[in-house]
């Protein structure tokens, strides 16, 4: 797998919530995520839960609270939508993938574009000042990923969908408004349906659709991860710099 990024802790005592994500524009294979401390913001006790998204010290920060979580989801949906747009527009899409695979990947392209555009519309309508608080359209780079390789595309899709499930599962508890929580719930189960289908395409005659690598074998629970665990993975594909200083 080439979608791994190296996470380098510059300050070993760094609190992840204080981390500064610098998303590099290096190619996928060499992509590095640099975590650096923000020395002017050391007091965790005063961490506010209502920091709005927007540019802080020259870099867009996702913010905190419900808008922060929705903006975080918007960033992840931008990535998924961009990836599947490239997948279905790859030159050999119609020959590399069989009928069922094309159907699945085309559906995923539709769903993720809808999710992305939904978050953009929802945030634009809900943010007090969307002109300065709406996350801009991000730029992406997939490094050496070959969009005409069935193996590489499906492996990356699996990683993205599993990551999406873990991200929404982990972010649910950060949402304070029931309507927003329900909307996230409506989306995460579709992401899980996607993850299952992609896993099943990769290894059909198996239990991988809900495999022991992703569902705990004693509790039957799926994975849930905080934004600070998700963003370094997503950062392997995102070249636009942004921070998530106020999310756990």
């Amino acid at each position: 797998m080439k979608n791994e990024v190296k996470v380098q802790g510059i300050n070993a005592s760094l609190d992840s919530r204080r981390s500064f994500l610098k998303l590099s524009g290096l190619t996928l294979v060499t992509a590095g995520l640099v975590l650096a401390g923000c020395s002017d913001n050391d007091n965790d006790d005063n961490m506010e839960d209502n920091t709005l998204p927007g540019v802080k010290n020259g870099v867009f920060d996702l913010g905190s609270g419900d808008f922060g979580v929705l903006t975080y989801a918007y960033a992840l949906e931008q990535l998924e939508a961009d990836f599947y747009t490239k997948v279905v527009n790859a030159s050999n899409f119609n020959t590399v993938f069989n009928d069922i695979e094309r159907q699945v990947l085309t559906d995923l392209y539709h769903h993720e574009v809808i999710h992305r555009d939904f978050f953009k519309a929802a945030l634009t309508g809900a943010l007090p000042d969307p002109g300065s608080q709406l996350l801009p359209s991000l730029a992406f780079s997939y490094g050496s990923l070959n969009f005409n390789s069935r193996t590489e595309v499906l492996a990356t899709a699996k990683a993205l969908e599993d990551t999406g499930v873990a991200a929404y599962n982990g972010a649910g508890r950060l949402i304070k408004t029931a309507d927003y929580l329900l909307l996230a719930g409506k989306i995460v189960s579709v992401e899980a349906r996607h993850a299952s289908a992609i896993r099943s395409l990769i290894n059909p005659n198996s239990k991988d659709f809900a495999g022991d690598d992703i569902v705990n074998t004693s509790t039957g629970l799926d994975t849930a991860k905080d934004p600070s665990k998700i963003l370094p993975v997503a950062a392997g594909f995102i070249t636009t710099k942004f921070t998530a200083k106020y999310l756990p």
């Binding site: 559906d107 574009v113 929404y168 599962n169 304070k176 809900a210 569902v215 509790t219």
Partner: protein, 270 residues
């Protein structure tokens, strides 16, 4: 004692800082239940406990414990359904080169884990919050033959998994005050969705629900599972605009209310 405050206090103190393995989480989740049980809070669910051999279940209260009790009853249903199916031999070992049997063994293992997890979360079988397993009749008085007829088994499996996804989603608001319980419920919710996708795909359908369609070969009696899934307006955004209504509805799963799920479950409870 304010139960929500109690749970929040407990979770703030002990669980939100948890960074342990999920096995640790499991133990901690059990501790939540034990502490809740010790608090002896009446949740109004004794009605169910007192009629273990009676017929229908009733809607659980819109509380975190009510949501767990509701989830446990659903997991009882799924767990018994798959256990009986595996025992009956209705799943042909040779189907799809053995794929189907592997799939349902995995699903069965997960549902069994969910039952144990939720019982622990409710404080164990001796807890005042514990709800016993109802008596199920998956033949619905002889109308279905899921343990002798494989297509019927597959159809009911799809209906149960798609119901499970919608049911957990409908409980999210009841858990918003208890972050650890909410997270655990979300973690079960997405597993149910993984199951649903695979069962649907075994049946030749898409892994996601188009419009409010129950899909080819599904008995009409299962339509209640799919009613309301065709929504294409989400928070004022028209999801059908870009690629049509089917894609727009597929991109979002819709919740079922507690009562809607209870009504579906009661079809199989005697």
């Amino acid at each position: 004692m304010n139960i929500l405050k109690f749970i929040e206090t407990f979770t703030d103190d002990s669980l939100m800082k948890s960074t342990g393995s999920r096995r640790d989480s499991f133990a901690q989740f059990g501790n939540i239940g034990k502490n809740l049980a010790l608090a002896s809070i009446p949740f109004g669910l004794s009605a169910i406990a007192n009629k273990a051999l009676a017929k229908d279940i009733t809607a659980t209260p819109a509380t975190p414990i009510g949501a767990l009790q509701f989830a446990l009853t659903l997991e009882y249903l799924e767990n018994e359904f798959y256990a009986m199916a595996l025992d009956s031999g209705v799943i042909p070992a040779s189907e799809n080169g053995g794929r189907d049997l592997k799939v349902f063994q995995q699903i069965s293992a997960h549902e069994s884990d969910h039952v144990s997890f939720l019982i622990a979360g409710l404080g164990g079988t001796m807890s005042a919050n514990f709800v016993p397993k109802p008596t199920f009749d998956f033949t619905v008085g002889g109308a279905f033959d899921p343990f002798n007829d494989y297509p019927t088994f597959l159809a009911l499996a799809q209906a149960f998994e798609d119901t499970g996804v919608r049911a957990y989603k409908g409980q999210a608001a009841n858990l918003i005050s208890t972050p650890d319980l909410l997270t655990a419920a979300l973690q079960i919710h997405s597993v149910e969705a993984r199951h649903a996708s695979e069962v649907r795909r075994l049946r030749g359908l898409k892994g996601w629900i188009s419009n409010a369609e129950r899909g080819a070969g599904m008995p009409a009696a299962t339509q209640a599972v799919y009613d309301g899934e065709g929504v294409t307006m989400q928070a004022g955004f028209n999801t059908a605009t870009a690629f049509g209504a089917a894609a727009g509805s597929e991109a979002y799963d819709e919740p079922l209310t507690t009562q809607q799920v209870v009504d579906i479950a009661n079809i199989f409870i005697v």
